[in-house]
Each structure stands twice: as structure tokens, then as C-alpha cells.
Symmetry: C2
Subunit: 458 residues, 2 copies
Amino acid sequence: MSRHEPGTEPIAEAQPPTELAPAIPLEEVGRIAERVQELIAAGDPREAWQRLNQLHPADVGLILAGLPRTSSEALLQHMNPVEASRLGARLSIQTLSFVLDQVNPRHALTALQRLPIRRAQEVAEQLEQPIAESELLSQDPNTAGALMTDRFVAVDADADIADLRTALEALQEDRGQLTYLYVLNPQGLPDGQISMVDLALAPADAAASSVAAPLTAVVSVDTPAQECARLRRHYNLTQLPVVEGNTLIGVVLPDALLGVTVEEDTRQMLQVANVPGERADGPMALSICTRLPWLTINLATTFLAAATISLFESTLTQLVVLAAFLPVVAGQGGIGGTQTLTLIVRAIALGELVGIRAKRLLVREATLGVIHGIWLGLLVAAIAIIWQGNYGLALVLGIAMMGNMLIAGTVGAGVPLLMRRVGIDPAVASAVVVTTFTDVFGFLLFLGIAQAAISLLV
Amino acid sequence: MSRHEPGTEPIAEAQPPTELAPAIPLEEVGRIAERVQELIAAGDPREAWQRLNQLHPADVGLILAGLPRTSSEALLQHMNPVEASRLGARLSIQTLSFVLDQVNPRHALTALQRLPIRRAQEVAEQLEQPIAESELLSQDPNTAGALMTDRFVAVDADADIADLRTALEALQEDRGQLTYLYVLNPQGLPDGQISMVDLALAPADAAASSVAAPLTAVVSVDTPAQECARLRRHYNLTQLPVVEGNTLIGVVLPDALLGVTVEEDTRQMLQVANVPGERADGPMALSICTRLPWLTINLATTFLAAATISLFESTLTQLVVLAAFLPVVAGQGGIGGTQTLTLIVRAIALGELVGIRAKRLLVREATLGVIHGIWLGLLVAAIAIIWQGNYGLALVLGIAMMGNMLIAGTVGAGVPLLMRRVGIDPAVASAVVVTTFTDVFGFLLFLGIAQAAISLLV
């Protein structure tokens, strides 16, 4: 689709306002989006663009992401590159490179880094502006190397504050997010840091080393992004210097660290539900490739549960009402196990669990399982008496419930702790393993006890 | 427990190193924690403290949190107040106030704000240092008012850069995290912001207003913390000015904004699993109060499922092997529904879903449900033929599976979108509602079709 169709004004020349528009509530973004969609449907993309152009770029990106593809491509001029990269998988290479040509190379690079490397390279080839730092594209995207920018300020120990100001000034708009400058040792490694606040207050002739403070953390170019996020959160760091061998080659800025935190939290939450790496508006094929394997694995585990039930076919024949209670014990175990699991997975991800707490947590969750099991066991027994009037069934249900809640607590805590110990991300398969345990043991306990006590039941 | 027991040195006099120790990997924290525990067990808390004292306060806090209470109380001198507040619920009021008396009042206040207000007030009463900003304790803890600090710099439009530097200098250590200073209009409201970088580079005699940039967002004292986090993420803001009426009364700093983001992500992930507001090491009573209501609600829904099954007792009597397949159709629906649900809840929380996308997402997820249903239906039918050799059963299972996956996709997307529309947090009850649907409809479809086609099965 050409941007210069007959009947539409060429809008490529429109310039974004130099001052960013103010923030607005999300509901208002929604209302404007509806209005924009109406205007496009009414054949007035120019008026639609006028509306969009008054918004903050972040809101423009959000609205474009919500429009059908044909509408959004007509309105692509001034997109926030971060939003552009989110849309990257759905936009054509031509459209995307057109958007990225409008922004400064560092932003374009950030956007490209969020695409799969192959696709990023295809887009980079189409760009009119050179991406000088194209070597960054070869960095592993989940490392400090891919998060960093190479626009930073570092000076030798004998520099003074005036030198630092000159170096900072030379960065132009790239200096906006910097919070620290560095003083290098004679080997070229960062030896101290100077905060922007201290720089603002220091006299011009002071030695840089006299206002420098020691560094809390230096990361290497291949430090995992997740570890960078942990350092940021745990040690309250706003900027991480990145070294390769004996050279300071970049810094990871606050926004990149926040981005990692949000992405990592998203990945983890989705991983527990077995939709890792998906986006609500991503391509359908990606969704299928992501979810179907987990659904298939889960099918295998439900057949394990089915096989467990089929062991007790003769018991079920004797008392078919048992079938109705099958989901009760197993289902409660699944919920209880998932509660424990989620809590532990999250605590591990936040770096809150050092090894010495593992055993204590296991005991804690098993104890909670017993307490919850007693309450739920009594409740379920009472319901069975009221509903079916069968005291034997009530006893069996109550005991099975207590047993399965104990298993749920133990397995819900034990599986993620064990996975961490052997070096697997606990978010990955814990949920499937835990619910398989609670299903199989739920059926085994309930039907097994029922079989043993069948004379009490019929 | 007294800190001056016979046989132990008084360690209260030990001073924290003025320079913060470097960051270390989490595994090393774990090893040191084990060693500290051994030393305390061997009756050498002084040596244990020597080890701890060489670490960054954040790591000291992490290790103290992992120690049994009696051990940690002996080692409480130099805790990071953020960690202290995490431990707050488990420490005695005396111990906590002792820790908070060692840190600067702003940090002590931050720590107090993370406690329940009542408990915070009890601790504040015990403090030796006055918490001058004690009025902040009356702020709703989930608003900008509770997140902000009242140490900021704002000057009138006719001030110059030298005035700004003087005001900044007067803040002393509280200036560390500031990234922006403000220029006020004649009414006293913030009119423009000056970044620390621009301040560092501006000549001393320049007018403050000449380097000021327009503000993207100003929040009021009662703006929800969640909205502050959204503004930070969506608009890339590092600092939010807070106004009450016509007065600038504080700023929300980057760390507070990150804290809200992490807390909000945790809350949401735990909420989906029905463990809202819990901590892995929190008090047992809190865990029980949090989880047991959800477990009980869930018990009610599993009895809905049980009642559904009991409608088909006569069919089950005719072919008891049907019971074995009960968890298969319902279980797959539950997993599929949760996948969809989690994706949508997360997208809503990240502010990625403006209204116009809702209908599209519903169609998308229903379509995915059909596609997944066809694959799983064929697979489950094939397994039924191989395992039971029953073609009729295979047909019933396959059809029920397709139907339930369609329901899972539709309900998994529809429930959170509907809850958002009526103004309820979709994370709260969505999971229970969705799995109830997939359970009940799973049993209804499978047993209903089996009953209708019973002549094909037996």
C-alpha cells in the first residue's frame, strides 16, 4: 500500500511536535482510538492523523497497534520506535524501515534489537540512515551486550569536571538518560562513578577522581539480561557499566533495565500458564506453536490420570456415584498445588530465596497443606453427608482430601525448589508436573481408600 | 532477646562501611548464608557478623531474612531498611525500631510505609529519631501520596541555575535519586522540568526557565500507585511530580516507581493463582487467611462439576469406562482456558489493550480454540481407539474435546475482557470462573454426547 494514494494528502512530511504531548488516561486513549477508527472508516485518514498527531508518541503507538493492519499502515509516520518494535512482527519490512528512518539511530537500533536477529538484519538493510553500531546486532539478545548503549562518558583519573562536562555535551541527545559517568583506571577499566547530581554541583576545576564513588557492580558483555535486572532491583542500581575483556564498552540504562524487568515478569507469568513468549496480538501461527506442545504434553498427563481411574473400574461399577466426586479431590489439590507453586516460583524469580530457606519453606507449605486439608476435608465430608447421606463416602472423601492437600503443598513447593537446584528455570514445567501429581494422587487416594473401605460405602 | 548477653561482644557499636560493598552472584550469597548459619550454630555470632559486615546491605538483608528468627535478631545492626520492611511482619516492634533508628529518616519512613499503617505507627512511636513527615503515614498506601518523597527542588520562574544548585545542595543526601528539578508558575504549580543532565551543563547565570522542558505528566496525591507505574512505563518517565490542590508537595522517585512495578507484577501473578498479597516467608496465619477462602470458593465450583457428572449416573452405569476419561476433556479445557486468560490478563495489566481490540481478541482466541480442539480431538480419539478399541467412544471424546477447547478460548478471553469492562480487576476471579466453565462444560459435553450416542458405545 502506497503512502501517496490519490485522494490522500502526502502525510510523510508532517513533523512530530517538538514538545511531547502530555500523558492521558488509558480510557481516553481508548475513546480516541475509536474515533480514529471511525474517521478512517469514513475515508478521512488525514483528519484521523490530525487527532493522533496531538498525542504522545507512546499513545500513538498504542492506538496504531489496535487498528486493523490496513488502517495502521496509512498512519505510520511518527511512531514511537519501542512501539514500532512491538508491532515489528506484524508490519512489512518496508513499513518498519520507513518508521525507523524517522527516529534517531540509537532508537532505531533499540527497536531492531527487539526483533528476531534475522528480521532485524533484513530491516537494517532497507534503512536509509546507517546503523553504525550494527555490530550490536550480533550480540546475544538476552545479554548485557544487547541491552547496552555505547554512548557513555568515561574519563581518565587525571581529568577534571570541565572535561567531564565537555564529554557529556558532545553526546548531544544521547546524554538524556545517563545517570552516572565513569573514571577509568590506567588499565582502562571503570574505577569509580560520578552521579549526575554530583557533576551538577562540582566546581569546574575539581579533579574527576575527587568526586567519584566506588562502583557496586560491573557486568561483562555476556552477563544474562535477567542477572542485570536482578542487580538493578536488589542493589538499587540505575545504570550498569558493561566491560568486554579490559575495556568499558557500554552502559545499560535505566529504561533498558526496566524493560528487562517487565519482560522477565511477563515471560514468567506466561510461562507458569504455559504460554511462554506469546503476545496477545501476535501472529496466530506463533500462538499455535507455543501452546499446542504444552496442550499435547498435558494430554499425556491427563491420560496418566485416566489410567489411574481405570485401575478402579470394578470399584466404580459397585458405586457409580464415586465418579461424580472424582473432580473434587483432584481439583482442590490442583488449586492448592498451584497456589504454593506460584508463590515459590515468584520468590525464586525475585531472588528472595537463598538456599538455607528451601527446607523451611517445604515444611511450611506441607504444614499449610495439612491445615487446609483438615478444613476442606471436614467441609467436603459434610457436603457428602448432606447431598448423598453416605457417611462412609464422607469419611473416604475427607481422608483423601486431607492426603491430597498435603501432597499438593509438598509437591507445589518441592518441584520448583528441586528444579532450581538442578539448574532448570522453575517456571518452565513446574505447573504441569505439580498438577499431574495432584491429579494422579487425588484419584489414587480417593478411589484407593474407597476400594479398601467399599463395605462401608455400599 | 538482649543484644548484650554474657559471652557475646556488644556489636551494636560496629559501624557499617561507608563505601557499599560490591554486588555478588546470588549463589555466593547462598554459600555465605550457610557459613553464617554454621557460625551462629557454633556459638560464634561475632565471626558471623564479620562475614556479613563485608557484604552489601541488600545481601545482608537477604541472608538475615533466610536465618531462623533467633539467629537473625542477634545480627540485626546494619540492615537495608527496604529489607527490614520486608521482614517487618516477622520482627518484633522493638527490633524493627532498633534497625530503623540506624538509618536516615527518609529510609525509615519508606520502610514504615511498607508495613500495615497500624503497625507502622506502633513502630514509629518506639523510634528515637523523629519521623518528621509522620503525616505521610496517613496517606492511602496505594496512592502517589504514599510513594512520594517531599524532598525535591522547585524554584520560581525568575530563578537562575545558581539558585537551583544551591537548593539542590541543601537537600544533602536526599538529592541522590532526583533526576528532575521543577520550575513553578505564579500559581505554585509545576510548569516545566529541568533534567539533572541539563543542570550539569548549564551556565550558572542562565535563567531556570530557559533550560526547562514541558512536563509530560503531573499526578495528584490520590492517583493510584498502579496508574503511576503505568505512566512510568508507557511514557518512559523517571520521576513524577505530585500535587495536592494548587501545590507541588512531592515527587515519586525512580526506585519507588520500580518498586510499584515489581509489586504490581507480583500481585497480579499471585492473584491469578489465588494467593493475592502473600509472601513466601510471611506469617502462616496470613497464608491461611489468603488461600482458604479461594480454596473454599473453588470447592463450591468443583461441586458444581460433581453435580453435572451425577446427572449422568445412569450413562456411567452403562459404561463405567467413561469415568476414566472424565479428567481428559475437562482438564484440557482448563489448561487451554488458563493459557488464554493469562495472556489477556497480562496484556490488560500492561495497558496494551485499548477497547477496539477486545472483539478482535475474542475472535482470535475462539479461532485458536477451534484449531487446538481439532488437533487434540483427533489425538484423543486416536488414543481411545488404541487403548480401548472403542470407535464410538473415540468419536464422542473427539467431538467433546473440540467443543470444550472452543469454550475454553471464548471464555478465557471473554471473562477478563468483560470484567475489565465492568471495572473489576480481571486478575481477581477470572481463573476460578474460567475453570468452572471448562469443567462443567467439559463434563456436560462429554457425558451428554455419550448419553445421546450410547448405542454407538456399548
